[in-house]
Structures are given as C-alpha cells and as structure tokens.
Subunit: 302 residues, 4 copies
C-alpha cells in the first residue's frame, strides 16, 4: 500500500513545525486565503531554495493545499464547487495548461483496502480520451483542441511483484505522455487533516519522505516528464496518533510526561504497521474519488 | 459497521481483568489447553451464574477461543487444520449437532470496508444447500442426511436504513431455521489479539456490550432459536490503543502518568469513531473468511 | 439470477403481438406520446379487464414505458433529464405520493453478473433515510415532511439458499413499509429494446411470466402493500434471439423456413440457460443504475 | 474487452474444418489422448509449416487443448487434478522450464464484465514472488531455486485509453522477464466448448485472428521474449450462434435454408457487438480462475 510504505507528509504540516521568521529567511514563501463562498481555505507554499527544502524536509517546488471540511459530508453533486476550485489550482501548475497535450493519470494504492483505494477510484471515474482521439480524431468530440487523457492503476507490490514505479516508468516510456499526474492516499500527522485536505504539488511522489529510497520515486527526474501529485490524507500512522494524544493530554492537563517520538512508541508497543482511519471511510473515499476525478476532467478541458 | 457500533469484547480479555480466585467463586469455569500439533491454544470459559456474568460483564454461556498465530500468515490450503479444529469446536456447542437441521448463517459487517468485511466474506464462501434440498431432495447430494444451510448478508444501516437485526428477524420468521450462526468482525482491546483469535459463543450478539440497546441483539431471546456467534477481532478502537500505549509506557519506564480511560481520551482528542487496523488487512480478511467458511462447511456435514 | 429465472416480458412487447381492434375490445387502453425535448417516447398501457389481461398475458394494472435511446450513451450528469421524467412517472403511480410514507426499495439480481447487477446498483446509489429519521427526526434534514426510505439487496438463491421473495417478505413484515419498489434487470424479446427501455408498473413482479410459480411473486397479494416494479431489459434469451434472427431473415430474403419457437430451438440446440448481452454492458449498467436511483431520490422528495 | 475485440478461435475448432488428409499433407501434426482417471481429453496440434498455418488460419506453433467437462461443476478443491494436469502441459512448452527464470503473468480482460474477468481473476490468485526474492533472496522461501513471478492486469482500453499491449510492452521493457504468460477469456465458435476447454499455446496472442492488426499482438516478435497464451472460451459471438443454430436445424430437419455466414447475419440483424454466455457465469469464472492460477503456481515450482 503506497500510502503506508511511504511516509508522505503534507507540506502544510511540515510548515507548522518551523517558525515564520525562518520561513522568510530560508526561501519558503507562503500565501494563504479563503474562498469563503465555497468554504475552502487555500495555502500555497513555494520552496525555492535548498535551505528551504532542508528546513521543510521537502523537495523544492510548489505545494497547494485546499482545506475543505465540507468534503467529509455527503453532497448531491459530489461537491462540484470544490472540484471546480481544485481544477483551477491544478491548471495553475500544469506546465502549458493551454496547450494540447497527452496526460497520464496514475492511481496509486490498493483497490482492496478501503482507505487506500483513493487513487484507483479516481482513475475509475476519469474521462479517458486518448484511444478515441487516436482512432477517430478530435472530431469524435466535436472539438478543435483536445488533450489525450489516459489512466492506469498499477496495483500494489504484494499483488504484482513489481514496484508501482517500474510499471509507471514502462508505461511512460511506451506511451510518451507530456505530463504525469499521480493520485494517492496520504498519511497525515494528525486526525484533524483527515479526508478534508487535498494537496497538489509539482514535485511528484518522493518515497520515504524524500529520504532514501529513490527506486520508488515518481518525479520528473525518474520519469523524464513533469509529474504533478495530488494527495488526500486518509490515514494516520498509529504510533503517530499515540504520540499526538500524549502531547495533547500533556498540554491540557499540565501534567508532564516524557515525550515519546513515534519511532520509540513503535518499538515499545505493537503499533508498527498499524494505521488509524475513520469508520465511514468507504463513503468518504467514494465521494473524494469523484470530487478529484471531476476536478481532473474539468482541468483537462481546453 | 457492526463491529464498530458494538463494542464486542472477547471473553478472554474480560477474564484477564478478574482474579483467579474470583473466577472460581463466581461460577466462571475456565479450561485451557494447547493443540500443539496445529499450534492452536484453546480457552473455554463457561459463565454459569449471574454473579459470574456480572463480574465478566458478559452474559451467561460458553465462550470458546482459538488463538492461532499462524492465521496471520499465508497458507496454501487456507489453514485447513485450523478450519477442522474450529469445526469441531463449533459442533461442540451446536444443539443437536448430529440431527438434521436448518441453519441460517448471517454475515454481519460492511463489504466495502476491508476490516469489516469478514462476515460477508464467510457467507460468500459458504456452501448453501437449502434451496437444492428443498427442490431436489437430499438425493441431489447422494446423502441420506443433510443439513439445510442458508446464508444472508444483511448489510449496514447506513446503506439499508434498517438495523441488521430487523432484517435477520424477518428472514428467521419467514424461513424458520433451527439455528442461527452469526459471523462478525470484532473490536479487541489490544493489538496482540488482532486477526489471530477466533471466539465462538452460544450467547449470540450483544450490542453495546450487553448493556442497553436490545433493539440490535441477535440472541435466542430476540430470534427465538439458538444463536451461535463467531467473531474475530480485526480492529482496535483508536482511543483504547492510546490508553494501552500509555499504560505500557508507564510500566516500562516506571514514569507515572495520570491514567486515562478510553472515554476520557476520546473526548480529549479527536479519536472518536476512529479505529486502528493492520496494513495488509485485505489479504488477512480474505484468508480468515475462507478459514471460517470452510470450518462451517465441515461442521455442517452429517 | 432473477432476470433469467423469470421470463419478464415488457408489456410493450406483449402489446405488439395483438391487434389494435383487439386492444379496445378487451379493455386495454394505450396512450403514447413523445417528450421531444428530452428524446423520450412514453407509452402507457392500462389493462383494466380480465380479458385484457388474458390477451396480453399480463396481470391487470398500469405499465408505463420510457424509451430513451440516449441512455445507452455516456453523459456527464448521468442523463438527469431522464431521471426527472422517470421520477414524474413513478410518482404518478405511487399511491398517495404526496403523503409521508415509508418506502422499501428492493434491488433484485446478482451483483456478480454484470448484466444482472442493475437492482443492486440502484440500491447502492439510493439515498436511504429511514434510520436517520427514526433516530434524529426530520429535523436532521431540515424538512417538515420526509419519506422514510430503506433499501435491500436480497441476493440470489444460489448464494443465499433462499428465494428473494422469502427475504423480502420477512423484511416487509418486520419493517412495515407503506410501499415496496422492486428494481430488476429484465429479459427482452429483441435486442432493439436492450438498455434503452424502462418499464414502471404497479403490478409488481410476476415470476414465470405470470404463469405458475407464485412462490416467487413480489406483489400486493404476496407482500400486503402496493408493489411498484421498475425494470430495464439488459439481456435477451439466446434461443429467442435465434428465433428472431430466423424470422427476420425469412422476411428479408423471402425464403421460407419452418418457423421455430424458442422452446424448440432450446431443445434442439445447446442454448438453454444461455443469454445474449452487449459488450460494453459494464458501463451501461453503471449508468442505468445511477439514472434510476436518481429518479427514485427525486420521486421520494416531498 | 479483449476477448471480444479479438476473434480468438481455438486451434481445435480450426482443425475441425479441414480434412485429415490435408492435415498430414500440410505439416499439421495432431495427437490426441484421454487422461481417463481425471476425465480430461487432450489434443496437441503442432503446426510446423507455412502451408499448415495458412490452412488452419493460425500461426505456426504448438496448441494444447484440455477438454474437461468437470470444470463446469463445483468442486471442493477447485479441480486440483485438472490444475496438476494443466501445470504439466504448461511446463512442457515453457522454454527451459527447469531453469530459474523471471516470469510475468498478464491477465487480459475486463474485471467488471463477468465473462471477461478470467485473466484478472487468475492474476488475483497467483503467488507472486519477484518482490520477495529481490528483497530477501530465495532464503525467504527456504528454497535453493526459485522462479521470480510477477503479475499484471493491464485493464481495457475503454478504461485506460491505452492498448493492453502498450502497457505490457512497457512493463516487459522495465522488468525484463524471461517469459510472459498471457491469460485471456476467448470466444468459441459453439457453445459446446464453453467453460470446459483450456487452450495453451506458445504462439502468444494474435489480435484479429492473426490477420492484420499487429499493434495489439502479444507475441515473441512484439515483446522480445517467449509468450505462452492460456485461454478458455467463455462466450460465443451472438451472430455465430445464430448461424450455428441454423446449420444444426438444417441438418436435423433435412430442410434446406440458405446458409448465412456470421458476417451476413451480423449486418442483417442487430447482433453486432453482442455475445452469448451462460447464466451461472460468475461461479464458473471464479472456479476457472482458481484452477488456472493453481496450475501456474504448480508449474512455476522448481
């Protein structure tokens, strides 16, 4: 399960741990605003220096986060207003968004594990057009300009024996898209971000929090074309949640406990390879998948 | 999701919290042994008095627990040796197991949430025979004696608008089985029981830990026929795990924290309606479902 | 698989085989019109006498058919215009549609066989409200008047050992809805109706084309409350198609073949228990399910 | 849906249309025998000349067919005896079957269309080992010699926008297996082969009946490594079935009809893009998938 092998943190959370003065010093630009009419809070973090990347423990690039509490709730048209806002944000970091191009959408994760089925769900709902345009031309859509959209769900290593990155590299080499968009379920540091936060970044997917395992990277470096990653935190690492709960109780009670880092908690307890998720996660994933696939469908229209 | 609405504790865990002297005093008989050749540890708890029921916070009846760590691992024939042992234990508490009867197997839980899909998975793999025996007679199976087996997956209230118990009562009234067997994913108090423990009890399903909400009960009282419940803990309540982690760290570090009960943790933090489960839960549920359905298929042979 | 055990013909097709004079004589009233702006052709057949029922080989009652060729094609909002028209037609035969009531929607068919998964798909997308209204009142929806909607997928006899009708009767007895709506995939007599025709009738489901097997009936008689059936033909019996092809070739070639009835064809060939369906049936069923569930959601609003 | 875009005939059926004398003349060797103890009839057709390939309308190579009527019926251990026989036949045409190698299994077809879900089902049940051997070595399996097995379900063009062959070529280029095994649902010419016949061939997959469309080929030529194809006919083209029914009735009645070829029938009727399949196809596909994946698991053991 990609979201669990990889500790994919939100830039938003990384940023909370460094001070504002440090931000400016280090080449980390932050912009925040509310889209009140649709109740979405947007944060853009741009890391433009190596120092900034080091401070944030994130690669250089843009990170756009939409916080939309409404996403957790049912909605007749699957929160189309959020899809539209997200589409705009995605277009803002697609290189040459106005030009016709070929785009491959990759749905990472495990279709058989509810909290990890976001990526596959998005590809299921995606409007793929590449085969039609190639066979019948743009006329099939009565359009003069069309992107060619394709989609793949590479599956998880336990089921395929291959890393998702191997499969994606192969497909990129064969079909030569101009852009890859990767959708994945993420792990957050706290439950308060869960299922309500969408992160869009032009830095692709960095396995192992950018530390180490570059075999698995899905980035411009590894694929040869720009890679945009879209992620929603759907789980929290169980050890992290224990640590967070302890901190919270410390601050609320004033009582002092020795602070345990998740690593320590993991070894002391049996929480390794365990994660925390919500009880109505099936409905939430179904809705989130639809909201994001609609955003992509809108963003890909020319 | 039934396993999460209902705090279904294991009798095994309930028993750990009371002393041995108290056990004997109160009419709680415990028998334990190992089936070494198949690496299964069996515990039988019989609660025969109201005092015992109160001490254990469990209704009077028999609770058989198989602890089989091997179940967590892949196996070519889905741990047939465990299926056979489990079949024997199930038969030991089926009233009139040697007599032909009509048996309804109920698979509680939510097919769309991996950790809660155990019950539906068991019914999917079950050998149902009722319709064949009714239409063609036992001759269809070349047998002189046959049980008539039927199965139902009532679904979850969020999807049906009805309590599983309403649906099951209706089906029992219409089809008049002699026995109901309910299979469900349970919540354990600690991760060490997860996915390796099967509990079989003749007390049925007690919503709200037997306290209160009898609308949801699936018991001899509510259905009018004996009800055997088979459960496997596949999740731990997130607040429980935080509490457990704190206790463990206290005892390991010698450091004293104010002990928090799960209720307190739940209100102080955001862990309400959250649960903890393992990362390869899809494969585990697939295997467990097969092991239990095979056990039922074996137990139902005459 | 319900649609295949039961030879559910369309009233529309039954009517094509009798003359117009006979219609009037026998108490069969037919009304036809086009809703041009949404490209839907509507036919209402009302059978008001026993003679009419005999001539049509259908029980007395109303049969409304929407022919909507567009349904076979992809559409951004799942043909909402058809959902709205269908909602109106459904309301027109719901007894007391303006009154608050409790409605049970039954999704017949087999989730695991694509062409038969229409009923389950409709229930999956349905807005169920009964449990919320019962627990929190209509206030939960900010409404003064609400129907209480519940849904069930009884499954197929091969999987449950029970007839769908047994399960539905049990659920109706327990939950006492005022109205039952049954959704099912049908068998048509020719491929030209396939996946583009929706039939709504107040006569419920008549197993065995109304001839015989009343064990399986889902009607006002068998359930005690009004039953509306909604069906879409998604398959054609293979023997029927051979017979139809022969007739068509006879008339086109002028060549005379001895006309074979499907029964004869079935015994002469190996077409028993075989059916014909289209190649992109998965996408069609997904869309149809959504169109019908939306129609129900609209029809149930007060 | 791969099985329907591609008219994949069985060599067995191709052979029935040419005479025995012609066979010998043309370099088509046929061997037939019964494995009576397991009720399997085996036919090996070896086409060794271009003339033979032309007469058979099949590429040069070996075609092994197992006819096993029992496969249509339920069986406790999923017809392990057939899995074992099939494993032996597969090994007989794996180049260097005794040598350690890396094998990629490709499950063609559409997971969402029951009759076409054979390939995906086989990969789901497959024992994949490549990732374990690469990470932990053969020691993880306590073996000195191990094949490295991987599996992929490329999906259908309507869902991915890409040809399955593009995806497979990409994965082969990246992961460099020594051998590719492709599993697919086939179209047969008559219902009598349906779901009871397994064809194994070393010629790979030839789209468009080997005539023409080489974009889609999955062969040694297109992939650069040996390709073994395993197929089971699960559908019959609807127009073919009409033609067959007519022939059969002609011969049984002695009555003469003008014989129609499927092409003609297709244009005269509405049977284009329609197929015929059996009513319990879900259970059959589930069983067949398991029988074949077990055969592969056995064949891959060293």
């Amino acid at each position: 399960m990609s979201c669990f092998q990889v500790r994919t943190d939100l830039a938003l959370e990384a940023r909370e741990s460094i001070g504002k003065a440090e931000e400016e010093l280090r080449g980390v630009a932050v912009e925040e605003y509310d889209r009140e009419e649709i109740q979405v809070h947007i944060t853009k973090v741009v890391i433009s220096s190596k120092n900034g990347a080091k401070a944030m423990n994130k690669p250089m690039g843009s990170y756009i986060t939409l916080e939309a509490p409404a996403m957790q709730e049912a909605d007749e048209d699957y929160h189309r207003e959020i899809s539209e806002e997200l589409a705009g944000q995605i277009r803002s970091i697609i290189p040459g968004a106005e030009t016709e191009q070929s785009i491959l959408v990759v749905g990472l994760g495990n279709r058989d594990v509810t909290a990890d089925a976001l990526g596959p769900g998005v590809v299921d709902n995606l409007l793929v057009t590449r085969h039609i345009v190639r066979e019948y031309g743009k006329a099939a859509y009565n359009k003069e300009r069309m992107n060619m959209v394709s989609g793949i769900v590479p599956g998880v290593m336990a089921a395929t024996g291959m890393e998702a990155a191997e499969i994606v590299r192969g497909v990129v080499d064969q079909t030569e898209p101009d852009l890859v968009i990767v959708v994945d379920a993420l792990a957050a540091r706290s439950t308060k971000r869960l299922n309500r936060t969408i992160q869009v970044t032009d830095t692709g997917i960095q396995p192992g929090s950018g530390v180490g395992n570059h075999r698995n990277a899905l980035t411009k470096d590894s694929l040869g074309v720009p890679v945009i990653a879209i992620g929603v935190p759907t789980v929290v690492d169980a050890a992290t949640i224990v640590g967070d709960a302890i901190s919270k109780m410390e601050s609320e009670t004033g009582e002092q406990m020795r602070m345990f880092r998740p690593d320590r908690i993991r070894t002391m307890t049996e929480l390794n390879n365990m994660y925390v998720t919500g009880k109505n996660i099936d409905e939430i994933i179904k809705r989130l998948s639809y909201t994001i696939s609609e955003a992509l469908n809108i963003a890909f229209e020319l």
